[in-house]
Symmetry: C2
Subunit: 208 residues, 2 copies
DNA sequence: AATTCCAGAGAACAGTTGTTAACTGGATGA
DNA sequence: TCATCCAGTTAACAACTGTTCTCTGGAATT
């Protein structure tokens, strides 16, 4: 299926990726709505006008960054929720996965947390839509669990949203401890674990 | 205690408030890190240099906005948590209070949601610190409840954080439905209510 | 080999930005 | 009444912004 790209297309994709990388780096210390087009081209090392060969605007670039940051995350979320083991094991594993993902892609996590409620509408919408997809996928996995018997569709979706939001809160907490001590990270891990545990308990007794 | 201000001081405070109001309005469609000083002065109708009589920078103005948006909210949060009635009544009342607050101060809510993870460090820190205060206050109220018997301090604080985060998530959801239909708002209300209910159930069975 | 294509360069545009310095005129306190 | 104070003004600064049009040179196609 995969077609070998010509030299030209390959170079273009390489430059495009350079734009995404440079923008992501610049966005660690500001919001997308203040990111200038020239600022990005300067960081990449190309002429300002080259920008237009790849993106219509910085908002457009932002939407591409949303895809890069969240697009490849769906399989991970699905398998995390559906992983075998008892409730406690799954919680531990989920928290570990989040911590690891924040460690390896801190700029992506920061970007999503920042722009989820940020000042650029198309980017906000792109994030919301991806998060809604996450919730739907989590819901689908939850529905397979025997624990979900007797649950209405609405309730499954509300629980899925709770999990997705909790995932983001936890990721953002880990992000804040990135330059902190091991103790801090351990403390965040404990809080997040207990919050997930409390939600799981609520889930178990929901139908009482 | 309150000292009557002279004409001069009164005028200054009036102008300062005009700055805060104008900035808040401009921030509905962008982030603080892209808010220009001249942009604000233009909206207020004063010369650019007048800005410096009130704020060192736009970041400084942002911190003042955090105080305005969250400073007066502490009593409300305290009483909401400590209100009498059974669990279900308290949840309904809390959600109603949030919905009402979003209705009457939408720009404040948007500002907090946006800048909580925004690109301006001092503002982020100001928000974090206020939210930490909220959590401490909620924890103090929770500790008074007979249900809290046998709970460790750590667990009370983790539950308090869960409530505070849930409050923000709900507020932000209501914000998105502000220009939507009554049905949408009702749906958000239902989801938020059930999520709070699930957390309450988890809380009740925590010590099992 | 000749032609078309197109990512990126270069120059120029009118507007914008934050910050400085020196000012004005009405409120304030002696 | 007179000197002091200070919120807001005016003018000017170099630096920056997004966008347009024109051009170039190597890859792609015929």
């Amino acid at each position: 299926m995969s077609h070998t790209l010509g030299i030209r297309q390959a170079q273009k994709q390489k430059t495009r990726q350079a734009f995404l990388d440079a923008a992501l780096a610049l966005l660690e210390e500001q919001s997308l709505s203040s990111l200038g087009l020239r600022e990005v081209t300067r960081a990449v090392g190309v002429a300002p006008t080259a920008f237009y060969r790849h993106f219509r605007s910085t908002a457009d670039l932002g939407v591409a960054l949303v895809d890069e940051a969240l697009g490849s995350l769906h399989p991970m979320v699905r398998t995390t929720v559906s992983t075998a083991g008892d409730s406690e094991e799954r919680i531990t594993r989920a928290i570990e996965l989040i911590a690891h993902h924040v460690d390896s892609h801190p700029a992506h996590v920061r970007f999503i947390a920042r722009e989820r409620h940020g000042g650029v509408q198309p980017v906000r919408e792109a994030i919301q839509s991806q998060l809604a997809r996450f919730a739907e996928e989590v819901k689908a996995e939850l529905a397979k669990d025997p624990q979900a018997e007797g649950w209405s569709d609405d309730d499954l979706l509300m629980l899925a949203h709770l999990y997705v939001d909790q995932m983001l809160i936890t990721a953002s907490l880990f992000l804040e401890t990135l330059e902190g001590s091991e103790d801090e990270r351990e403390r965040v891990s404990q809080i997040a674990t207990r919050q997930m545990r409390l939600i799981s308990i609520g889930r178990r007794h929901w139908l009482d």
